[in-house]
């Protein structure tokens, strides 16, 4: 079957479609405001007239490329192109500021493609078994995953935990605006119809990361404090890469796993992988200041989500996130009904898709490594030219999400808030994390209690829920406990 798939995928039309898709994907992903979902949705109509395999693989190329492309700008100019890359910006941009952009991009490219390829291999080998495990995730498990996600604030908070928690709480509060996810009542909208649907994540993210960065740079232009741009030509050494292998493997595992859980996507995954890389690292001081693992972990994880998300889609006919939902539509239009019967009715197409996914990752590796020299040139553009361009892209990106000018205002307000947060050393990533996890936390909490008819024991009598909640507790309080223990030891000595 796999061999037949290989033969089918090795046609020049198919390969060409994957190449075109990946290049479009990388470009779309790297622009702030254009996410993987939008990219796939934009290209979708083009595929209707195509041969099913070529059409679907074009979309797969766009999807994979966009997830990778989002990290380029996260690393280079602290502007995550997609929410999945928000975690990469933390250490990626720190490395760029130190002059190691070249090395950071190399690690990002290698980790991304290794993560992507591993997840596709998991998809090929044990998709049905993995899918049945994914079904064990019910409301309490999703709630626990969201709590665990929030606990990650303690590892991305930067210098002070309190400031990180305040930022996270801000994200959670903003996420409550809009209709109640369970009962459907409008909350905190102040009668403004633009707020009925809640605030969109993307304008907030663009504002907090990109616009605030532009504002800060503009401030720097007028003060004497002008940072000198350095691009060290240091290549990634084999020794350094070897140290990352374990992190990449772990993160790919986390990514594939979370990717297949319905309702959780690349954004949460990247933060979880970052947190775990830090937990397992012996020297945690470099995290946030430019640790290579801080790039390898989220990058391997957010790209391995791609294969993971395909698992419930292809084996159960259930889309786990927005991108796979668009892909489901694409498959159905082509007359392919994903689901338990897919492997029997359309086996050869499925294996051709698998091979195509592997090829898409190889192509991204090739283009990524070839493009690094070109991508880093963006740093040579004077800030006085680059920053206005970024602001224009922010505005266009925010508008493009819903073709609504209100989102541009949201982006600008978020930018101003982000500017002051950066100025007073509040980390911005926890806001995004709280914002993403808020709705997931709330609706699954209510749903769990409906399932248990109001019995709170549902949160600690289920094994997966218990493990996740314990992990969350550990993550949040471990740094505090450790400090206590060290202090006690010092007292005794």
């Amino acid at each position: 079957m796999l061999f037949e798939g290989l033969m089918n995928a090795m046609q020049w039309q198919v390969i060409l479609m994957i190449i075109i898709g990946s290049v479009i994907g990388i470009s779309i992903g790297s622009l702030p405001g254009l996410t993987a979902v939008m990219g796939v949705a934009l290209i979708l109509p083009v595929t209707f007239g195509m041969d099913p395999v070529a059409g679907i693989l074009l979309l797969v190329g766009v999807y994979f490329g966009a997830v990778y492309g989002g990290s380029l700008t996260a690393i280079l100019i602290n502007t995550p192109g997609t929410p999945s890359s928000a975690a990469t910006a933390i250490d990626g941009f720190a490395l760029t500021k130190k002059g190691y952009a070249h090395k950071a991009l190399t690690i990002s490219t290698l980790s991304s493609t290794i993560g992507g390829i591993l997840s596709v291999i998991v998809l090929i080998i044990i998709a049905p078994q993995m899918a049945s495990f994914a079904l064990k995730f019910s409301a309490p498990e999703s709630f626990a995953l969201a709590v665990f996600g929030l606990s990650i604030i303690s590892s991305i908070a930067g210098k002070t935990l309190i400031k990180g928690l305040i930022a996270g709480a801000l994200g959670l509060m903003v996420a409550t605006i809009g209709l109640d996810p369970i009962a459907g009542f409008a909350r905190f909208t102040g009668g403004n119809e633009n707020l009925i649907n809640g605030i969109d994540l993307v304008p907030v993210m663009i504002g907090l990361f990109a616009a605030s960065e532009a504002f800060t740079s503009i401030g720097d232009l007028f003060s004497a404090k002008r940072a000198k741009v350095v691009i060290e030509k240091t290549k990634l050494k084999w020794e350094e890469f070897r140290m990352l292998i374990l992190t990449i493997l772990r993160s790919a595992g986390i990514g594939t796993f979370i990717g297949m859980i319905p309702g959780a996507g690349g954004d949460i995954t990247a933060f979880v992988a970052y947190n775990e890389a830090k937990r397992f690292s012996k020297d945690k001081r470099q995290f946030g200041e430019g640790d290579l693992k801080g790039i390898a972990a989220p990058e391997a994880a957010n790209n391995s989500v791609t294969g993971g998300a395909m698992i419930p889609l292809l084996t159960l006919g259930i889309p786990g996130d927005a991108v796979t939902a668009v892909l489901l539509g694409a498959l159905m239009v082509q007359g392919i009904q994903p689901g338990p019967m897919l492997f029997e009715t359309n086996g050869s197409i499925v294996y051709t898709l698998f091979v195509g996914m592997l090829i898409a990752n190889m192509i991204i590796l090739l283009f990524g490594l070839m493009g690094i020299r070109l991508f880093t040139k963006i740093l040579l553009i004077p800030k006085s030219v680059l920053m206005p361009i970024i602001l224009v892209l922010c505005t266009v990106g925010a508008f493009a999400i819903n073709n609504n000018f209100f989102d541009v205002i949201v982006m600008l307000i978020a930018g101003i808030i982000g500017y002051f947060m950066k100025r007073y050393e509040f980390p911005v990533s926890p806001v995004i994390l709280g914002f993403i996890l808020g709705p997931m936390l709330e609706s699954n909490f209510s749903r769990s209690l409906v399932l248990s008819q109001g019995d709170y024991s549902i949160f600690f009598t289920r094994p997966i829920t218990l493990v996740l909640l314990s992990l969350a507790f550990l993550t949040l309080f471990a740094p505090l406990l450790k400090r206590k223990v060290i202090k006690l030891k010092e007292d005794y000595i």
């Binding site: 459907g184 319905p262 159905m332 338990p340 070109l374 553009i381 361009i389």
Partner: protein
């Protein structure tokens, strides 16, 4: 090196000009003058439910079949949540220029009675109806009941313990389960999800005991032998599950409950524009690729013109107003 940085500078400038150029074009065509030349830019179709469910699939297939008749592309946008209130409210509040069309479903005629939204069908101008599907009672394949009657007997013996997943509080599938419980005198535990797809996922995982969604939404899983459908809540059997009896055949008398899907634009959309859209969508609904899609996915094809759809919605609204106050769901606060 200098050459390269110059090159990049111009490249960025080029991208910028392109972006500005594109956005300029959009803003001119959005002006009100272009009624007769409608459509001049892609049309957005708001789908008020999660991607992957029956409504989403129908919208995407219809959009695809309609594009040729409209002469512009149609982009589907999912706005799920609040039993569809989020997406439909956005659709009702969209600029009435015809560039935002909404797919609406039966919930539109229910939300107001449920006290969940100010939204009523009067806020829209209907374009046409394309689909009608009944509720079907589906359970896990290894459940201890094989018929509707056995299910009801089990629920009578275990009052309040049987968890029935629905597509959101006050959604049609919630009403279906509520009306089933009310009319047979059983007690069920109703669990809301954000659409039918997550409810079916939960049934697959054994977290709920039954769902009352349409046959199409469970068909792949039923065919694979993971789930079984006990009965459909309609007058006639479903054409995709011909061996599944209706509730009436099983001797359980319940009011037929089902969903329908149609297309609307905001009330103030010019008639000329609405007429063009109605033409395009109804032609699209008759395209072979769409009827094939409906058949392949087990969706009931039912085409009504703008006027018929208006009358149908009025009747439905009256009908659900009665059911909801009977079931005492209107006090849902």
């Amino acid at each position: 090196m200098n050459f390269l940085s110059n090159y990049f500078y111009f490249f960025c400038l080029g991208v910028l000009l392109l972006v500005v150029g594109c956005s300029g074009e959009e803003s001119t065509s959005a002006s009100k003058e272009g009624v007769s030349s409608f459509p001049e830019k892609p049309v957005t179709l708001i789908v008020p439910s999660a991607a992957g469910g029956g409504t989403d699939a129908t919208a995407r297939a219809l959009a695809d079949a309609t594009e040729d008749h409209l002469g512009e592309s149609i982009g589907v946008e999912n706005k799920e949540g609040g039993s569809g209130a989020i997406g439909m409210t956005q659709g009702a509040n969209a600029t009435p220029d015809g560039y935002t069309v909404s797919m609406v479903f039966v919930e539109l005629t229910m939300l107001n009675h449920l006290g969940m939204s100010e939204l009523t069908s009067d806020q829209f101008k209907p374009l046409g109806l394309v689909n009608l599907d009944p509720a079907a009672l589906t359970v896990s394949a290894d459940a201890p009941y094989d018929t509707v009657e056995e299910f009801i007997k089990y629920a009578e013996e275990h009052p309040g313990e049987v968890k029935v997943g629905n597509a959101g509080t006050g959604s049609i599938w919630h009403i279906a389960a509520e009306s089933l419980a009310k009319e047979t005198g059983i007690k069920l535990n109703h669990v809301p999800f954000e659409g039918a797809a997550p409810a079916v996922t939960s049934l697959m995982g054994g977290h709920v005991d039954a769902v009352t969604v349409s046959p199409a939404e469970v068909l792949p899983q039923v065919e694979a032998g993971d789930l079984k459908t006990l009965g459909v809540m309609s007058k006639d059997r479903s054409n995709i599950m011909e061996d599944v009896p209706t509730f009436e055949e099983e001797g359980v008398d319940v009011t037929p409950v089902g969903t329908w899907r149609g297309l609307v634009v905001p009330k103030d959309t010019p008639d000329e524009v609405a007429g063009k859209l109605e033409d395009a969508f109804l032609k699209g609904a008759e395209e072979e690729e769409f009827t094939e899609f409906m058949k392949n996915n087990g969706l009931g094809l039912e085409i009504k013109s703008s006027d018929e759809f208006q009358q149908f919605m009025n009747k439905e609204s009256e009908f659900y107003g009665e059911i909801i106050s009977d079931l005492d769901l209107g006090s849902n606060e």
